[in-house]
Amino acid sequence: MEQLLQHCLNALILGGTYALLGIGLTMIFGIMNVVNFTHGELYTFGAYMIFFFVMSIGANFFVALPAAILLGVVLGGVIEFSLLRPLRGADIDTTMLIMIGAWIAMQNTEQLIWTGITKSVNHPFPVDPIVLGPVSVSWIRVFVFVAAALLILGSHLLIDKTKLGKAMRATFQNRETAALMGVNINAIHTATFAMGSGLAAAAGALLGPVFVVAPTMGDLASLKAFAIVILGGLGNVMGATIGGFILALVEELGAGYISSGYRDAMGFLLIILVLIVKPTGLFARRERVG
């Protein structure tokens, strides 16, 4: 029972960052119809940026974090502008392959700059965990969860309450009509990709100090983000948020009770199951299988 509680707590904390990854990817897919293979690289980029600021320059952790996220937003904007904008209207396979090419180039650039040796990032939180009765959790993880929760809340507010969010939702529903109503589709696409990338970079920057930073860390992150997006239904932001927590829970329980070697397989088995049983995702409001 105590073990179960601990697993649930771990899942809750991990789920926050998973949700960040999933929201970013599902927005990019839903609005732009692009299967973004660079998503994991933005995650890695965020982690390396916090490593760079904190460990190489010696900047304050709380300054480095927003800086890393902001640079992720900028990088996402650049990728959209240079690789996706010229191919607007290309079929989904072409853009997907372009993103695979960009992913390979980015990952190896990271490897070239920072080598393949894993790096760790110092953080200003006490090492002693918080003990709450039978369960315990470290301070950094609590911080990660709070920061992720704030970012998730912020994304939801941005999408639901602001004018930009309204334009994004309109573009998602019908691109042509939105354009006719005066929505600048190009700007929306760049903003969406930049925001999604920023969220991925935030997830990386938050998890960098918890785990270690390595050039290939983005591969699994990408695949997990795909799993989350499938769980929630492509383009469904609320679904991705819940999907992130579900994936984390399934992974934790799978690793705890079945076998830790199959931890990363849980997400994929879950995807396969969901797609067999309910291909539109668990929370789909309407048919979205294209």
Partner: protein, 345 residues
Amino acid sequence: MKRTLTWVWLFFLATMPVWMTNQYYLHVLISAGIFTIAAMSLNLLLGYTGQLSLGHVAFFGIGGYTSALVSLGFDLHVSDTTTLVFPPQPVWLAFLVGIVVAGAFGWFIGKISFKVRGAYFVIVTISFAQVVRLVALNWVDLTEGPMALNNIPPLTLAFPGLGELAFFKKLPNYYLVLAVGVVSYIIIRRLVHSRAGRAFIALRENETLAESVGVNVTRFLVLAAVVSAAMAGAAGCLYTHYIRIIDPDVFLFIYTVTMVIMVVTGGKGTLAGPVVGGIVFGILPEILRELAGPEVQWIIYGVIMILILFFLPQGIVPALQSWWKGRAGHEAVLPGTRAGGGNGP
């Protein structure tokens, strides 16, 4: 014209070892050949039915692992008390079992994943490959996990009256790969020129329309998946018995990407495309290796992939074809209108 070209090609490939005596170059050619066969199999799905399978390496690995296990012999623990013992079998039989098992997985995966299309299909296939990789990594009793299966025997053929020939050396392996490659090419050629092939293309161009005129969508897609998976499995068998070691890294996503790059660069949906792409991207890394470190090499790989999709979205072979047609017929074809320009299929 086309027929002559094919024969010239074949002659060129068959006599290659005569003038290329360097063993290392021969090794590069064998590896390129194995991946070309895998790329040809992927082209059947990606190019002809239009389904982007990004888990193709799973079939390659399943073929390789099955063939390795059958040729080495293995124990299967069914329960705590019963263990099925499979003694080592001759390699040619292992080869066949590998192909059949890969094909069977193709059938199974086809059955479940063709319920969905587009991005969903891509993600199911990726997930499948990842699950298979993790099983190979964790089922240590069977696969030795990260310790890898070692000392896999090479193919041995017995010729009555002549004794046995074991494929230890590069030269016989080269001809083996070439032979399997030619057979695969012929199978794909016959398939795409048959009624099934026309159904594949109809599905790719307009699935709803194809279905409305009576094409059984799932049946033809599953057929393509089975043939494609079996062929990828054959490539995996060749790989295993040539390298003679196999570990879970064979399932890495990067190998699928390599196959996809080969197909897209050469020209998806053309017979010669994967061969051209396979040779270019089989040999290019070896040339780049002389000039740059592995990271720079991969960066160049990625950039080339992006450039090709930007400027030659149809691939090399269709671009050459339309260039040739434009030259031969002196038609009023504007450069780029048929080869380079457009983005659509």
